[in-house]
Symmetry: C4
Subunit: 291 residues, 4 copies
């Protein structure tokens, strides 16, 4: 079977009009099954890591005079390599336009553009760090079939808790606005709370329990209100945690209670594919990308 662009689900009926060498190239670049295809993906991920690392190192002033030249050369090598990879994907994909508009297609393009833009505009080369997003491909390469079900569970739990999480976020944002304004009125500009936006920034720093200390209350009343804000921030973290956990527990349970379509047995493990009593298929195979 020919290679498929990454984000599409298997559509067995789709005709494949690619020539033989494009199929083979697609098998190499998009595939996961042959040793060569896996080696290509592993090499790609290593190159991405190295490239991100070199962009980071390039900004260290003390290393600039020593490695500056080498790093700039390396960057062009990486850019050329990623450009070839991008063109290869465009050519060998069964539906090139579909790939180009997919998440991975856009990331792949964005990870080479900054280098070319840096020829004309200064500063854009740091955007190359966007290449780190290409590493997300790693999940596809290393995540085995049995992991898919587990990751699904997490997504399912988060989706099911969406309403509760929204309620929580709006509550936190309201708290931050109210405490920020209060502190602006209490402490005022001469104690570092120069404006309401700055005070709201202080409230975020405090309620999230980060606590830089760049702005901190000076007056007794300010310290009292800040203490209340801290205890709020300390305590309400229990709410999203409880929401996500209860969602996960419920997703687990629901799956365990899925009855076998043949014999009706429930209590299957989350990663079970077949009924443990009669062997019937419990749920259709997860949509995986097959070449």
């Amino acid at each position: 079977m020919p290679a498929q662009p990454e984000p599409t689900l298997p559509k067995p009926a789709l005709p494949d009009h690619r020539s033989a060498w494009r199929r083979r190239l697609g098998d190499l670049i998009f595939g996961l099954d042959t040793p060569l295809a896996r080696a290509y993906d592993v090499a790609l991920i290593a190159t991405i890591g190295l490239s991100v690392f070199s962009v980071m190192v390039e900004t260290v002033a003390s290393l600039q005079p020593v490695f500056g030249r080498v790093l700039r050369d390396l960057e062009w090598i990486f850019t050329v390599a990623f450009t070839l990879d991008y063109l290869g994907r465009l050519i060998s994909a069964r539906r090139p336009w579909h790939y180009a508009r997919s998440f991975y297609g856009v990331v792949d393009l964005l990870s080479i553009l900054p280098s070319y833009l840096a020829l004309f505009f200064f500063g854009t080369q740091y955007l190359l760090v966007i290449r780190v997003l290409r590493v997300l491909r790693l999940f596809r390469v290393f995540k085995l079939t049995r992991y898919l079900s587990e990751a699904d569970l997490l997504g399912e739990a988060l989706r099911a808790s969406r309403a509760k999480i929204t309620v929580f976020m709006v509550t936190v944002l309201s708290l931050v606005l109210v405490f920020g304004t209060l502190m602006y009125l209490i402490e005022g500009p001469k104690h570092g709370f120069t404006s309401i936006p700055t005070s709201v920034y202080w409230a975020v720093v405090t309620i999230s329990t980060v606590g830089y200390g760049d702005i901190s209350p000076q007056t007794p009343l300010g310290k009292l209100v800040a203490s209340v804000a801290m205890l709020f921030g300390y305590g309400i973290i229990a709410v999203p945690t409880g929401i996500v956990t209860a969602g996960l527990v419920r997703a687990q349970e629901r799956r365990r209670l899925d009855a076998c379509p043949q014999c009706g047995l429930t209590g299957h493990e989350p990663d079970a594919r077949h009924c443990k009593r009669c062997g019937a298929l419990l749920r259709p195979a997860a949509p995986e990308t097959e070449p």
Copy 2:
């Protein structure tokens, strides 16, 4: 059916003595069902957001000379708009006095008062940030029927855990008092622990893991006691988290175990309204505001 004031539960038997145009105005302002009523609510929320934003921006010193004039004009436009909205609600509500004393009624009044007070007293205009509380209305506008059950679950879990949460809060407050006094005795005023209230403030900053660093222990013994306080604060957050989570899990389970009144089947999903086997109504419809 005529519009109802926001916080009242549906009382079908209540006679409606409002004239036709007041009913229509009520449908527009309090309603959620017609496109026009929804558009009114969305516009209101956008105005609230803009108004809060402009109050915040007004306090930024560097923007004052540029936008100062525009912002002051905008504020009066918002105030007039909110005043008209408040009067409209008072006029068109089925029970005006009931609305005026409700949570939303009080917030609506408080969100216009500061502007008028600022004509006489300086500084009160910052209280306009209270307008942000009007955004809570957003939940009513966007929260769909199926979300109500989820939000109920969260409230139910928190209510059920009230006793345990109180125990936790009293424990934290005692810890904060004891550690604060200890540090005042150990470190003393010359290391920044100028009084017991200040030391208690330090203890709150430390136990909530905020850690500004504006006051920090200097002596070896102080550092040792502070380390114990930190590990306490780090560890006991597990307790409220556990309480809320266990409460949520139990609320879920209890709901799942609710037996169908007709066929006795249990194990319904939290958001199920009808029995999945026989279709009987599982629980009465949630109290929602219908026009």
Copy 3:
């Protein structure tokens, strides 16, 4: 029935040799059932709060000249009141010696001693903050019968998780020692890591996510190791939280699965005293102090 000293469990067979007025005094001081006894407890708690508050205020330098005299007088009034309360408890308790050695007896003594000691030794008066521990009595006064079962559940969950919590604490302490020593070797005394104990203090500040910033890494390697320590501290908080939560969920479930001794029905609510089907007593009444 006569009053009982607080910490003893009901022993109906114990003979009561107290005279009538001592019984009546005991009913007032230790009792919870009559309005007068409750009023006594509420007044006591208010006095404790006021006393703790006055000790705290006394240390504020700016208030010293204004309220200093009043506060010192107040302190002696509180001390005399608490001394009378202590003597009253000693006299009216059914088993005075048992009360004197109980937790509350020791706290009651410790909350009056510092005032007398301060006549001879300077500084001991701040120990009066220990009076805050007397507020724990509040639980006894306000905690109603139905709360007892809930609090039991929390204690049961924590006790059941003792082994796992110990494993976690030893892990955190080892991490703190290892990271502290590493940073001492990497950063050294000239970047603030003056000794291994100081470095271990830094590690506690970091792993508990408090982060004062009084000591922070300066070298690139130090920042890298510190980042690893932070991510460790950030992540492993999930472990005690998971332990406590799973313990609570299990304690709930175990209770729900307790079969009725008469009809065998399980699935009772945690706070159920009687079987919901046949009405049989599910478990003996919680040990409460009855006068």
Copy 4:
């Protein structure tokens, strides 16, 4: 029965070629059953604690002149004691080479090497803190049979959640890289974000909610982006917590649902060894080290 080296599982069929005195020495050093063997382990743990403590104290500049000489002498006594212990273990182990390569064997060697190396290289003596890892032996000494099952549960839950935890860690690392680079572009070197690695360090400090404050955003846009990073860090801690908790709950449940092989009863407690109805053995004894 003769002593067994610590990390090996019981292999009853393995022949024992050790002479009588080596067996007796092994019983003393590796054993846990006789009072003498327990006393040896307790003494060893006390010595480890003292040794770690003395290494820590040695680095405190103010104590150096007073205790310096004593501490250096003590260190050599500890080193000799641990060397003898190591040799004794090598001699008396049933399979010396197996012990030497085991975790405990390597730790035991590493905890004596630095002292000898310090004769030639300066600074290596601080590595003696690695001795703290020997304290892990403490679990073996004090953890009773009934705790093993509980600790297993924790390990089982963490192993089962491996995939989800990896997803979380990669997400956090990506966030840290993206936010770090963003802040480098926004704030730049003149506000303390001197390079991308330094900015990533700042992002770790912020997202883990440690918040030293050694680097903090100065520009309005920087503060906005930092606020988003903080709220992210504050919120996503719910995810690993939920994962670990759900894993623990499921491990508990799975164990509780293990059916008795004889009568089929489920719902046994996690620490049950025998069926509570028919007494049949539920699961084979945990692999413990028996002499």
